[in-house]
Symmetry: C2
Subunit: 334 residues, 2 copies
């Protein structure tokens, strides 16, 4: 007789994993969370005081950084990566993240290891003031290898209808602020796996640590800084620098009659980018199309608001360029 | 020189896929959707008229039904599966789904094939009155095979705080209504792959079609029926029958002093379940723990409200049991 467990789906292990993650998940819940753990869905009370509240959603995954994490056996940074990939997209539209769900697909459900990943997601949610109100751990035996996994998520947030930021108010002569990223965040890992990791081991010493430490460092969570920024100054446009790099993402929010001139030497570039380029023999243009190059988030503000904007952000930022009359292009200058 | 495209990530194909899915996605948008296609996040205006609105979220994937779909080259049902898995969990908590995001991980991004899957998700969203306001297609070269994929999603909905349904008002003597499912929905496919598919081809003729047709038939979307039900009668508890089957899911919403007596012969069981059991040599207990067995959703209502409940549902349902004083167990009786 065949059973689901013999088929590789272990419902008892799933129950055990659920029990282990319970305290991590509920630690993200404030008094505004409705519904218990283990129901079909949980909720969060919609904050009051909005005249015309809009719900916004964003979804993303950590990509094949998960595969590098698996090889290294290091999972701590993935929670920061997942929450950053989702919540910082939402923040770029001007929204305040409220709640999220995570989706973890695994070859074989090992409760220890699932607990570690979900704990890292929950910790990052707490740092971003997000309630983790749902999640799915799916066992895919025979499709994924036992220790293979994929991690994705979705976030919901709120914004006043007339406060949605879509770049439509960008004018020539505005300042482009770049928020620093000390590491790769969660993009470009297919290129890392193909061009870099065949040449060095994960234990190889790079400037700022071993390859595993440097490559797998968790993403900066920009959303809390962006919420402070939005309270302090008027922001014309924002971009979360993910796949496609600075140009690919900033161009998504530029009006058709505006260019963005970015001075690529204006910020201190963390050493990992030169090391990846050299080891992987990746040219500068490809590096800029694939990686954040040290700028993980961009905000466009009036030039006279640069100082209060930088103060509100608290995290490190640099004036990296200006908007000009143009045709919707991002121009990277040396 | 290495590039991202050589590493298997084709940003041009991604752009092309995005263009192809645009019309499918925006066809799910009503006038309440805010923000354009291709921004960092899109939104939906929160419906007015709620005294204390609660946002609810749910997330799920189609599991390894995706793997069977890949082998068969048949993807049409997956949109129904994804939307049902997410939205019907939300409906079980009493919420009305508003918007969702989808997450598609692929080995190699083939725009045609991605368009087909996203089109099926968008069509199912329209049937469930859900705006598809975000999505991610992630290419995982070297981790997934070229035509391997995984499909997950997340949904957000709204419910009045005092209308959240969590089973707390269930009393002895209430009626248990089972909503019919003509097929497997999106659970149990690891067992299907292990116990059934090694013995028959996907072209094998079963009672209601080929194995591919029968196994890959899309899920019924219960949420629209549940919204009608909630308008018509007071509902004490609901359960979406997914992994764990009728007992595993109904027990999630039973109070600790109530049992549910289910009469397993009370509904007409679609032939696929007997065929899967016979071909796969799966015993009755394992079948009930893994599959919906013809009942995909359950609602507990007062006995004198069975007729108006069934009328409001419109889709086929059967009185399959009653609640009794007990200890939180689901008792399956012959």
């Amino acid at each position: 007789m065949a059973t689901y467990k013999e088929a590789g789906v272990d419902l008892a292990a799933a129950d055990q994993a659920v029990e282990r993650i319970r305290s991590h998940v509920t630690a993200t819940w404030g008094e505004d969370v409705v519904g218990g753990f283990g129901g079909f869905a949980a909720g969060i009370k919609i904050p009051r005081g909005y005249a015309e509240p809009v719900l916004m959603m964003a979804t993303d995954g950590v990509g094949t950084k998960a595969e590098v994490a698996r090889r290294a056996g290091v999972f701590d940074g993935l929670g920061l990566d997942l929450v950053a990939m989702c919540a910082d997209d939402l923040a770029a539209a001007g929204a305040r993240p409220l709640a999220m769900t995570d989706y973890l697909a695994v070859g074989k459900l090992a409760p220890d290891w699932v607990e570690g990943i979900v704990a890292s997601v929950a910790a990052a949610c707490r740092q971003s003031h997000i309630a983790l109100i749902g999640g799915e751990t799916a066992e895919h035996p025979g499709v994924m290898e036992a220790d293979e996994f994929d991690l994705a998520g979705a976030v919901v947030g709120i914004v006043e209808a007339d406060a949605v930021i879509d770049g439509s108010t960008v004018r020539p002569g505005q300042a482009i602020l770049g928020l620093h990223s000390p590491n790769l965040r969660s993009n470009g890992f297919s290129l890392i796996r193909r061009a870099v990791l065949p040449k060095i081991g994960l234990g190889e010493q790079l400037t700022e640590g071993t390859a595993a430490e440097v490559l797998l460092a968790g993403s900066v969570l920009y959303s809390p800084a962006i919420q402070r920024l939005l309270q302090a100054v008027t922001v014309a446009a924002m971009a979360h620098v993910t796949g496609g790099g600075i140009a690919g993402n900033l161009s998504r929010v530029l009006p058709a009659n505006i260019d963005a001139e970015i001075h690529a030497e204006s910020w201190r570039r963390p050493p990992v980018f030169a090391e990846v380029a050299e080891i992987g023999r990746i040219d500068e243009a490809s590096m800029f199309q694939t990686f954040n190059m040290g700028i993980g988030f961009i905000a466009v503000v009036d030039e006279d608001r640069v100082a209060p904007a930088q103060q509100a952000l608290e995290i490190e930022s640099t004036l990296i360029g200006h908007t000009t009359a143009g045709s919707g292009k991002v121009l990277l200058r040396a």
